[in-house]
């Protein structure tokens, strides 16, 4: 499918063709526009011109023009001319409707010379970068502009002065009416250029996307600030009163440091009190341990139902029941907790429970090994190594949560390369609730609290704990809750003694009980007599004289 050449005039409507014919007739009456010299035109352009000449047939488009044609080029040939500036074409479109009063032809360009002159006066450097555009403008000059309309020629030059659009010379300004002159605050305006320094022409930028273009806003400093957040001052906004308070606080701290740095002159009575108190405490604890005294009466189990609960729960365990023992114990509390642990674990071993040891403290596995070897080494399950120490579980409460939800997926340090879950003690364990009992051995109440919070809700059998005596007030709240979050508790030496009494055994707790009793009495005596002495010394101590008070009668 080929597209043949066709005359653009064919598709024009009749009214437009009549209008064009009328324009041609009017153009013929005026001075014809200066056509370009055909001798200077290239061959290809001449061919196009011949092809669209009126009267030329399509059969002879190849004939070149013999000489300069006197006929006007067809309007369609204007697309072969160099492009006029955009404002002139727009002016053609605006002027194209044949208004009868228009004094000039529609194809004639508007008179733009005064505007260009004003632009050149105002911005002499503005046209320099656009030299290539200025080279096109001679085509505009080549067109013969029509004579100035009559009404413009006859107009008064003083009534319509040709004023440039912008002039820095105040003398060039036309005269203004008096009322406008009185309103103009001429004296208030600075005569220098009010543009900011960033807007003043400084020559073309040397870098960036606008390199080489003049009279553009400099963007280098703007580009450098992109992405830079506003930085606020972090200095404290301190008022005067706050500054005074800070000075007072600083003086107090300095006085405290100075007091601690100075050698303390303790009174002789205080030194004797400290010495005698320490000797009394040491003697009260050591003498019963050395003599092996068992004179102090053991407390009744009715005073501690939580101890009886844990005893009853262990007592009904079947043989071979898996019991998880969390050994979250610190070495500092080992001596206090060891009697209770040995008593409870001894009961478990007597019931032939399969012990699985675990610790969330770094020293827990070592303490567990030491306790089993030291106090329960004679039991068959310990001597034969029929227990499993899973080792240390790092991660705190997060690790406990992971252990609760997926015991087989946790990372443990104890068993080494072998899989502990393939041992007989753990083969039946899929969840934490599969253990027959979970026993937490802890130094403080917080460790047990974490176990209760992370695992207590998913354990139908509940939790049991062996702790230091200092954890009892905190854990008592969980013992008294309904349903109880903590089923049983053995705390301190007294709990160990009660448990041993329930078992009908004499163990480490009983051995420590007299030392505990005598040490408790010694503490009460030291505090009682120490407080009396302190009160007496305070009343007999001379009071320092108040500054400004009269020195005597």
């Amino acid at each position: 499918m080929s597209h043949g050449h066709h005359d653009p005039e064919e598709n024009l409507p009749d009214w437009l063709r009549a209008l064009r014919r009328q324009q041609e007739e009017q153009a013929g009456q005026s001075q014809p526009a200066a056509a370009p010299d055909p001798a200077e035109e290239p061959d290809w352009l001449q061919e196009i011109r011949q092809r669209y000449r009126p009267g030329a047939t399509k059969a002879e488009p190849q004939e070149p023009a013999a000489g300069p044609s006197e006929e006007e080029p067809a309007p369609a040939l204007q697309d072969t001319q160099p492009q006029l500036p955009l404002r002139l074409e727009l002016a053609e479109e605006v002027a194209e409707p044949p208004e009868p009063w228009l004094p000039f032809e529609a194809e004639e360009p508007l008179e733009t010379e005064p505007v260009d002159e004003a632009l050149e006066l105002a911005e002499p450097q503005a046209r320099q970068p656009y030299g290539d555009i200025q080279e096109v403008e001679p085509a505009e000059d080549s067109l013969d502009l029509p004579a100035t309309p009559t009404f413009i020629d006859e107009s008064d030059e003083t009534a319509f002065p040709s004023t440039p659009a912008f002039s820095e010379d105040p003398d060039d300004l036309p005269s203004e009416p008096g009322w406008l002159e009185s309103l103009r605050p001429i004296e208030d305006f600075p005569h220098e250029d009010a543009r900011s320094a960033a807007m003043l022409p400084e020559g073309p930028p040397q870098e960036g996307p606008l390199a080489g273009l003049s009279d553009v806003l400099p963007t280098s400093h703007l580009v450098g600030q992109i992405g830079k957040s506003v930085e606020y001052s972090t200095r404290l906004q301190v008022t005067g009163s706050q500054r005074q308070h800070a000075a007072v606080l600083q003086e107090l701290l300095q006085s405290e440091e100075q007091r601690s740095a100075d050698p303390v002159e303790r009174p002789l009575g205080n030194r004797l009190l400290g010495l005698l108190g320490s000797l009394l405490l040491i003697a009260a604890v050591l003498v019963p341990l050395v003599t092996g005294s068992q004179s102090a009466g053991r407390p009744d189990s009715t005073q501690a139902p939580e101890v009886r609960n844990i005893f009853n729960s262990i007592d009904v365990l079947p043989a071979g029941a898996p019991v998880l023992v969390a050994f979250d114990l610190q070495p500092a509390q080992y001596g206090e907790v060891a009697p209770a642990v040995s008593a409870v674990l001894g009961h478990l071993l007597d019931k032939q429970a399969r012990l699985v040891l675990l610790s969330t403290q770094e020293s827990g596995p070592a303490l567990a090994e030491r306790l089993l070897a030291e106090h329960l080494g004679n039991t068959p399950l310990v001597s034969t190594g029929s227990y499993l120490n899973l080792g240390y579980l790092s991660g705190g409460s997060a690790a406990l949560r992971s252990l609760t939800s997926d015991p087989r997926g946790v990372v443990l340090s104890g068993p080494g390369r072998s899989d502990p879950w393939q041992t007989p003690a753990l083969q039946s364990i899929q969840h934490l609730r599969d253990f027959a009992m979970i026993l937490v051995i802890a130094s403080d109440g917080d460790s047990v609290r974490v176990w209760i919070e992370q695992a207590g809700t998913q354990l139908p059998a509940g939790l049991y704990a062996i702790t230091s005596a200092q954890a009892q007030p905190l854990l008592r709240t969980y013992l008294q809750s309904s349903p109880p979050s903590l089923r049983g508790l053995v705390s301190g030496v007294s709990g160990a003694v009660i448990y041993e009494r329930l078992r009908g055994d004499v163990g480490l707790g009983r051995h420590y009980w007299d030392a505990y009793s005598y040490g408790l009495g010694a503490m009460v005596l030291v505090i009682l007599f120490g407080s009396l002495y302190s009160r007496l010394a305070q009343t007999t101590e001379p009071k320092p004289a108040k500054p400004g008070a009269p020195s005597g009668a």
């Binding site: 030491r370 991660g395 009793s517 005598y518």
Partner: protein, 206 residues
């Protein structure tokens, strides 16, 4: 520049991780993924122990180079490196590591606890001299009652204190105070968790 970029990433990781674990506790079907994320935390906590060991070594090595308490730092570094090396070589349950634990670490920590008990006793004896206020006397009276009710004194039990007064203090006063304390701890934990989840608190260094 690195810090400016790393802070939003650390905060995003913390918020997303905490939010996911929280959502997984409420929505079924995410248990396996939650367990995996929690295991990552377990491994990171174990790695933090090694980082703490390295930091301790660096601090005391710097003290030795600066001549600041050189003897203590030297002893600490030798003991630390020896224990770490032997435990790494033999395992934590071998003879020498267990001997070090049983004969050095355990007695030292137990002795410190015993010394703390004696110090607290003497401090209580001097309490009146230091703080002669109604609250000071209240503390002393409560302490006397609890000590007398904790067990027999010199082998002799005072039933009125051990079976009447002490249980009242333990079961009502102490337990009530502890319940209030636990409620406060729970509310504080929730608030802290929410602040971390929304990025208001950045305990990871942000």
């Amino acid at each position: 520049m690195t810090r400016r970029f790393s802070l939003p990433i650390a905060a995003a990781v913390a918020v997303l991780g905490g939010g996911f674990v929280l959502v997984s506790l409420l929505m079924p079907g995410l248990e396996e993924m939650r367990s995996r994320v929690l295991n990552w935390a377990v491994l990171l906590a174990a790695l933090a122990l090694l980082l703490g060991l390295a930091n301790l070594f660096q601090v005391h090595w710097q003290k030795i180079r600066e001549g600041n308490q050189r003897l203590y730092s030297t002893v600490l570094l030798i003991a630390m490196l020896a224990t770490f090396g032997i435990t790494l070589w033999e395992g934590s349950r071998a003879g020498i590591p267990m001997w070090i634990f049983s004969h050095i670490q355990l007695p030292i920590e137990t002795s410190l606890m015993a010394g703390l008990a004696a110090s607290l006793t003497l401090a209580a004896a001097r309490l009146v001299q230091r703080r002669n206020t109604p609250l000071g006397y209240t503390f002393l009276v409560t302490l006397f009652i609890l000590l007398l009710g904790s067990g027999p004194l010199f082998g002799q039990e005072i039933p009125f204190l051990t079976q009447r007064v002490a249980p009242i203090i333990n079961n009502f006063l102490a337990t009530g105070a502890m319940r209030g304390l636990l409620i406060g701890v729970a509310l504080g934990s929730m608030l802290t968790g929410l602040r971390v989840l929304i990025g208001a608190d950045r305990p990871y260094g942000g």
